[in-house]
């Protein structure tokens, strides 16, 4: 059926296509003591599917492109159309007016600054060894996460002027999106409007202002209360060179307001932030130094919405043990389960699990933080060994429930060793390792003290058996111990209580198998994975799982 279209695209070049094809099958089986003690859950279960996401791009005139993406999905086990699905994944149009003003409508990907609109990476994904990348790609693709953009529906336009005088260039960008549509007898429509104006004064100085306003349209419901959250961000950057080392300084600041019109009980809170970073690129690596201050009352729906929603139910064994306990989202789910992720912007601070992210659960926009950051990237120690390292020290600006403030440390180290270069081997052999560490401390009396540590060790080895076919193995071991308070918030995000959680657990992920790359974007992998979640506080039963997985991925 597609042949005429393809033929036409080749002849007139007005229709072209791209997309993604994926075949995946996994079989999960309970392991360890759980296999004997859990008489309720199935011993094993498996699922698989074939997905073809076909992207069509139609260019009726030179300045217009209409794009759509159709998903064809066939779950394994169906026959004659049963368990087969056809759905629209994307529909958008973009174009240029008079070669000056670009626009996009429909499904659009938007990103602004880290404090106005930004889709931060999920926790524990930083410095992840590359053998786990296929899982990460799968999760991000299924949730429409393209780098740090949020996928929204609406209209966006941008244009720029080159002026060739003191002001070299002016760039403007504006968008209007609908975050939440009409709900019958429900909440009003939620819209987000935003815009940016960036002035390039010279090659060295850029001055930009960014504004996002998210608000409910009161007239679209029968209610009397409407949410609003405008956020403003100004950035000033300077690029220079010191002793032939190029550097860039970025100073930014801004403020937010959040409230509910028509609700006398709702507080209107205002918060501000400021950040300065210095980036310098040397021959051996790249250094980033930064300072960040984010007010306790800073609220930004676009930058504080989290990817992982801890309230979502896991796909793999959502309930287990004879008590039919709901399984909490763990490292294994964050790594491999697209269903624990969130695609919608949240008007309130989403809950998070301090086990996995206690320092910056809302990225750089995490409220109530002041501190310093340092990062060395792409540090090439030798031609066979490279590393990157980062560390962050923060403190709360005001204490939560006490005058004593939490102090935070988040550090990470990643190194990549090319053993083939070191040992002069013909075939590719590399070793990767990383450590992610988080600590939280708070002094005071016994009832308010915090002493929390989490650490994730990750490692992998990859050896090329024959050309492009690698044998891979990887491990992640996550430890957490100590205590941390979780703030319980009301519907206005105001803290009304605390839960002092005690942690002492260990999670292990082991993977091993084969991976063959036809090209960078076309590969298959076949692996055996082993997962174990052990809660030493005995709040939850030990969970052990083995998984046989096959995945074929092809980016068209």
């Amino acid at each position: 059926m597609l042949f005429p279209i393809l033929a036409q695209s080749q002849v007139k070049s007005k229709l072209w296509y791209d997309g993604n094809a994926r075949v995946m099958y996994n079989r999960d089986a309970l392991e360890g003591t759980l296999k004997e003690t859990d008489t309720v859950s199935t011993r094993s279960n498996g699922e698989g599917f074939t997905i073809l996401d076909l992207g069509f791009h139609f260019t009726p005139v030179d300045d217009i492109e209409i794009s759509s993406e159709i998903r064809l999905k066939n779950d394994f086990g169906g026959m004659w159309g049963n368990k087969s699905y056809v759905e629209l994944r994307r529909l958008s149009a973009k174009g240029v007016v008079n070669n000056k003003i670009a626009f996009s409508v429909g499904d659009i990907y938007l990103k602004q600054t880290k404090f106005t609109l930004y889709n931060y990476e999920q926790e524990l994904s930083e410095y992840e060894p590359s053998v786990f990348k296929f899982y990460r790609d799968f999760v991000n693709y299924e949730n429409y996460y393209q780098s740090n953009y949020w996928r929204l529906q609406g209209v966006q336009t941008n244009f720029s002027y080159n002026m060739y005088n003191f002001i070299e260039q002016l760039d403007f960008d504006a968008f209007a999106t609908r975050i939440r549509g009409l709900e019958w007898l429900g909440k009003p429509e939620l819209l987000m409007l935003g815009g940016s104006a960036v002035v390039t004064l010279s090659n060295k100085i850029n001055l930009g202002s960014h504004y996002v306003n998210t608000f409910e349209v009161l007239s679209s419901s029968n209610g009397t209360v409407a949410y609003y959250n405008p956020v403003f961000n100004t950035q000033l950057s300077y690029s220079g060179s010191l002793k032939d080392i190029p550097y860039k300084m970025l100073l930014e600041g801004g403020f937010s307001k959040r409230g509910w019109d028509g609700d006398s009980l709702a507080p209107e809170i205002k918060g501000y932030f400021t950040k300065v970073t210095i980036n310098a690129k040397g021959k051996k690596g790249e250094i980033n130094l930064g300072f960040r201050y984010v007010d306790t009352d800073f609220r930004s729906i676009g930058s504080q919405t989290r990817r992982i929603d801890n309230n979502n139910i896991t796909t793999t064994y959502p309930y287990y043990s004879n008590d039919y306990t709901q399984r909490k989202v763990s490292v294994l789910d964050m790594m491999s389960d697209p269903n624990v992720y969130n695609q919608n912007l949240s008007t309130s601070l989403m809950t998070y699990n301090p086990m996995y992210s206690s320092v910056s659960p809302y990225g750089d926009a995490t409220p109530n933080r002041i501190g310093l950051t340092a990062e060395i990237d792409n540090l090439d120690l030798t031609d066979f060994l490279s590393a990157k390292i980062q560390t962050q020290y923060f403190s709360e600006i005001i204490g939560q429930g006490t005058i004593h403030k939490r102090s935070f440390n988040k550090s990470a180290l990643h190194s990549l060793l090319f053993l083939d270069k070191l040992l002069s081997l013909n075939k590719h052999l590399s070793l990767e390792g990383s450590i992610n560490l988080e600590t939280v401390k708070r002094d005071g009396d016994d009832f308010e003290k915090i002493d929390f540590n989490s650490i994730l060790y990750s490692g992998s080895i990859s050896y090329e058996l024959i050309k492009n076919l690698k044998i891979i193995a990887g491990a992640k071991v996550f430890y957490v111990e100590g205590n941390e308070f979780i703030a319980e918030r009301d519907m206005y995000d105001q803290i009304n209580d605390y839960l002092n959680n005690i942690y002492d657990s260990k999670e292990t992920i082991l993977i091993g198998g084969l991976q063959h790359h036809f090209t960078d974007d076309i590969y298959f992998t076949m692996q055996y994975n082993q997962f174990n979640v052990l809660d030493k506080t005995n709040t939850y039963d030990e969970f052990s799982l083995g998984r046989l997985i096959f995945m074929f991925n092809m980016n068209l």
Binding site: G240, F291, Y293, D445
Partner: protein
Amino acid sequence: MKKLKFLLLLAPFFFASCEKEKIEGPSLNDLYGELNILESLSIVGDSADFSIGESIYFTASFSKQVDWIIRIKGINSGSVKIITGKSNAINQTNSLWNGSSTQLPFFIAEDCDLELMFEIHDDTILDKLNIESPKLYNTENTVLITDFENGFNPNFTGFFQAGCTKSLVTNGAGEGNKYLAQYGTCDWDWLIGYVDYFSDYWYDQEDLVNDPTKLYFNIMINGASTISDVSNLPNSLFKLEFYEDENGDDYYDASSEDRYDYEFDVDWTGWRMISICYNDLIPPSSNAGDGVKEPSKIFKVRTLLLANPESGFAKADVDFLIWSFNSPILD
């Protein structure tokens, strides 16, 4: 340009230096901290003469905000005063006591047991205090109908069914020494008995305020938690009827003048003060008056004790019928 770069670097620190002093959220100390008494309980103004407007207050301080309860119990009268608060300090502002009661009867000149208790925490602090002279409730802001201390005024007429009792009793009163006991069983009628308190014979003859929103009727009622054998509901039903003489002819004409009612179950044991704002009274469906509440035209107050004839014994003794202006008598 170097100065500009320097300023760029310093600017964020300038903003960040504007640190806030408060804490975010409720205090952890208040929620989970240990309670320590930093300053022990003190009584300021012990042996107060409440009759001349003296008062007592208490002082103490704690290591955290806590829900505290001060309970003062008259050793002889059995009257109880409860003062509550949530704070980390007890002081004149939150513990001032003018001699009033929370649970009847009223205090008399007596020694009292004092308890300071805390919610959630088991700690209790005990002490004693003395009342030299009790609070006087009949003031320029009240109009006393009767407290029965001078006997039962024979001009207060009424009716009690045969076999039912209305009698003046000494000792055990809600206020003073005497009260009117009302009880009995009537198996042929809802009415046990009623008493008409005509305004011409009230103890105080001062005028009532004519604003119904500022006038409160107060009556002490001694219940016995009588429960119906039939319905398993409270058996004693008490009704108040207020009759207005609209045309001033010293007669209530049911065909043209106002009557307002208020009724309630007597489902408690012991004395309790019932207070009702005149503005909250409801006219019966048969009310033939103009429906305008005019307290200055009150002709009489009728108190009725009622009970389901199938259900047995009912009891509601009364004492200290008094009007108060602007607030209930125990406010």
